[in-house]
Amino acid sequence: MKAPTLPNLLDLSWARVFAVFLKELVQMRRDRPTFAIMIMMPIMQLVLFGFAINTDPRHLPAVVEMREDGPMTRAFLASLSASTFVDIVAIARTSEEGEAMLRSGEANFLISIPEGFERRLVRGERPQILIAADASDPVAAGGALSAIERVAQQAFAPEFEGSLSYLAQGQPPYEIVVHRRYNPAGVTAFNIVPALLGVILTMTMVMITSIALTRETERGTMENLLATPVRPLEVMIGKTTPYVGVGAIQVAIVLIVATLLFKIPFTGSFLAFLIAVTLFILANLMLGYLISTVARTQMQAMQMTFFIFLPSILLSGFMFPFAAMPVWARAIGEALPITHFLRIVREVVLKEAGLADIASDLWPLALILLVLGTLALMRFRRTLD
C-alpha cells in the first residue's frame, strides 16, 4: 500500500459520511449515562466554579496603620468600612505589626496613612496613602484595589469644600500607591464564567472524541470498519459531527446560565461569538480525534486528554495571567485552542468586541484546526498493522 497522499486522503463520499454520522448518533443516544454527563457537566461546573471563584470579592480583611488621626483620615476609613469591599480588622501601632498580619494572611491589605498626611494634603504636597496588597490571589486583590481608589475619591470629596475647594480641582491631592505583594502581576479584568465555557468545551469535546477510534479498536469493531470501503476523511467527519451538536447544546446551556444566574452582560457581536465558538469546538474535536489515532486503549486516551487539559487550564490565561508567563510557557499556550478562545470570549462578552477585534485570535484558531485535522487524517491507520 502506498503512503497516504493528501488528495488520496481527501477522497470522500457523503453517503458514507452520513452512514458513520448516523451510527454515531444512535450510539450516543443509547449511551445514556455519558449523554447525561455531557449535559449535566456544564451546569455543575458553572454553579460550582461560578460561585466558588468569586471575581468581585467583598469583606476582605484589612489592617490600618495610622500615624495621623484627623477628620479627613477618619472620614476615609469610615467610608472604607461602609463600602463593604474591605473590613478593617485591626489598627496597627507599628509597621512591623501590620506587615506581620499581611504575611500571616490575617489581613489581605495593609493601609498606611503617613504622619502629617492631612497637613501635607492641605499644602498640596500630594501625600501618599500606601496600600500593600496580598496579591497571591490576584483576583481578590485586583477587585478590591480598584474599589479602594473609588472609595477614597468619594470619601474625600465632601471634605474638599469651602476653603479647601481648590483641592477638588484636577488630580486628587493625594496619591494612592499600591504595592502588590507575593504576586506582582495580578489580574484585574477577569471573568470566570465566560472563560469556563472554554474549559467545559475543551474537557468534553476532547475527551469524547479521544475515544472515538480507540473504542472501535478496543471493542474489535475497527476490524469490520476497516474491511469496508470507508475512507479516513469520511470516518473523521462522520464521527465528529454529532459532537458539534453536543457542543452547541453546551454553549446554549452556558449562555443561559451565565445570563440568568450570573447576570453576565453579553456586550459584543453575537455573530463573532458564533464563528469563534464553532471554530473552537471543531479544533477541540480534531484534537481529541488526533489523540484517538495515537492512543491504543481508552485508558491511554483519557490520560492524553488530561495531558492536554492541564496546560489548557494553567497555561491558557484561564488561571494565571498570560502575559506574566515565561516565553516558553506562552509558546505552549499559543498552540492551545483554548488560549485564543479565552481571549475572544472575554473580549466579545465583556468588551463589546466585533469580528474585526477578534481576527487576531480567530486565524490562529483556524490554523490550529487545520493542522490538527490534517495530522489526524495522516495518522489514521487504514490497516490493522
Binding site: S13, K23, R219, G220, A227, P229
Partner: protein, 308 residues
C-alpha cells in the same frame, strides 16, 4: 468459471521479529469453498487479513478478484465480504441498525429492501430491533454473515465463523455458504471442525506460518498416506494408553467402543498394534482404511508439523 479469484504469491508478515506468515501462496478458483486449516496461532487470521487488505504484507504480491493486493485494497474491500473471528459489529446498535450501517457504507441502492431481505434470509426479521449485543453466539454469527453478504460480495473470507456455535446453527450456517457457492460466490473459510473441513472443495493446511498442504479434499487421504488399525474390546483405556506411548502411532482416536490407531509408517504401526494385542489378548485388531475423520483429526492435532 475457471477464473482464479485469489492468486497470492509469497505473502510474508512478521510481528515483533517473528514470521507469522512465511512465503504463503494460494490459488482459489471462482465458486470454490476453500477450507483453511491449522492449529491456533498458525497464521490463518493474518493471512486472511492480508488477502482483504487489512494488513500490509512485508513481501509478496498477488491479485484478489483481479485487483492488486498491495495497491488496490479499496477496490478489493468493495467486493469482498469479511467475517471476523471475533464478533465485530456494534453491540449497542440493533440488528437492523448494524445492517443499515454496513449497507450505507457500501453505498447500496434499495437499502431497505436489501436489509429486509437479509433479515428474512437469516431468520432475523422478528428480532431486528433487538440490540446485537444481546444476541447469543449463534445468532451473532448469523448476523455477521448477513452483514458481510449484504453488498453481494464475490468473495467471502470467513475466519472461524462457527467457533463456539451449536451444531444446529453450524449446519444452517454451512447450508447458507453452500447456497452462496452455488450462486458463484467464492469462499475461503478457516475452521477447526472436521465436519466442516470435509465440506470444503479444497483444503490448505498451514502451521507456523508455512503452508504444508494444499489439495482437493478428496485427494487428501491419498496424499497424506495414513494407515489405520481398529482395536476393539476391553480394556480400551489401557490399550489406548499403550498405543499413545508407542512409536509409529501418530494418532489414537476413540470411536465409540473401539480405537482407531493411525500412522504414516505401516510397519511401525502394525508392530505397535500387535504389541497391544500381545499385552491384551482379549482385544480384536484389524487393519482399516484411514478415512476423512481420521485424516482430519490427524490434521487438526497438528501432527503435520512433523513435516518440517
Amino acid at each position: 468459471m475457471s477464473e482464479t479469484v485469489i492468486d497470492v504469491r509469497g505473502l510474508t508478515k512478521s510481528f515483533g521479529g517473528r514470521k507469522v506468515v512465511d512465503a504463503f501462496d494460494l490459488k482459489v478458483p471462482r465458486g470454490a469453498i476453500y477450507g483453511f486449516l491449522g492449529p491456533n496461532g498458525s497464521g490463518k487470521t493474518t493471512t486472511i487479513r492480508m488477502v482483504c487488505g487489512l494488513l500490509k504484507p512485508e513481501s509478496g504480491e498477488g491479485e484478489v478478484l483481479g485487483f492488486n493486493v498491495l495497491s488496490e485494497s479499496l477496490k478489493i474491500k468493495e467486493r469482498v465480504g469479511y467475517m471476523t473471528q471475533k464478533f465485530s459489529l456494534y453491540e449497542d446498535l440493533s440488528i437492523r441498525e448494524n445492517l443499515e450501517f454496513i449497507a450505507r457504507l457500501y453505498g447500496l441502492d434499495r437499502r431497505n429492501e436489501r436489509v429486509d431481505q437479509a433479515l428474512e434470509d437469516l431468520g432475523l426479521a422478528e428480532r431486528q430491533a433487538q440490540l446485537a449485543g444481546k444476541l447469543s453466539g449463534g445468532w451473532k454469527q448469523r448476523l455477521a454473515l448477513a452483514a458481510c453478504m449484504i453488498h453481494e460480495p464475490e468473495l467471502l473470507l470467513l475466519d472461524e465463523p462457527t467457533a463456539g456455535v451449536d451444531p444446529k446453527a453450524r449446519r444452517d450456517f454451512w447450508d447458507a455458504i453452500r447456497r452462496y457457492s452455488a450462486q458463484g460466490v467464492t469462499t475461503l473459510v478457516s475452521t477447526h471442525y472436521m465436519d466442516e473441513a470435509v465440506q470444503c472443495d479444497s483444503i490448505a493446511y498451514i502451521a507456523y506460518g508455512k503452508k504444508l498442504l494444499d489439495a482437493p479434499t478428496a485427494a487428501i487421504p491419498q496424499q497424506i498416506g495414513l494407515y489405520g488399525w481398529r482395536i476393539a474390546g476391553r480394556p480400551l483405556l489401557e490399550s489406548q494408553q499403550m498405543l499413545e506411548a508407542s512409536d509409529g502411532v501418530d494418532l489414537v482416536a476413540r470411536f465409540g467402543a473401539e480405537i482407531h490407531a493411525c500412522g504414516k509408517d505401516a510397519t511401525a504401526l502394525e508392530r505397535a498394534v500387535r504389541a497391544v494385542k500381545q499385552a491384551q489378548p482379549h482385544v480384536e485388531i484389524a487393519p482399516i482404511e484411514a478415512g476423512f475423520e481420521e485424516i482430519f483429526i490427524y490434521l487438526m492435532s497438528g501432527a503435520l508439523d512433523n513435516f518440517q
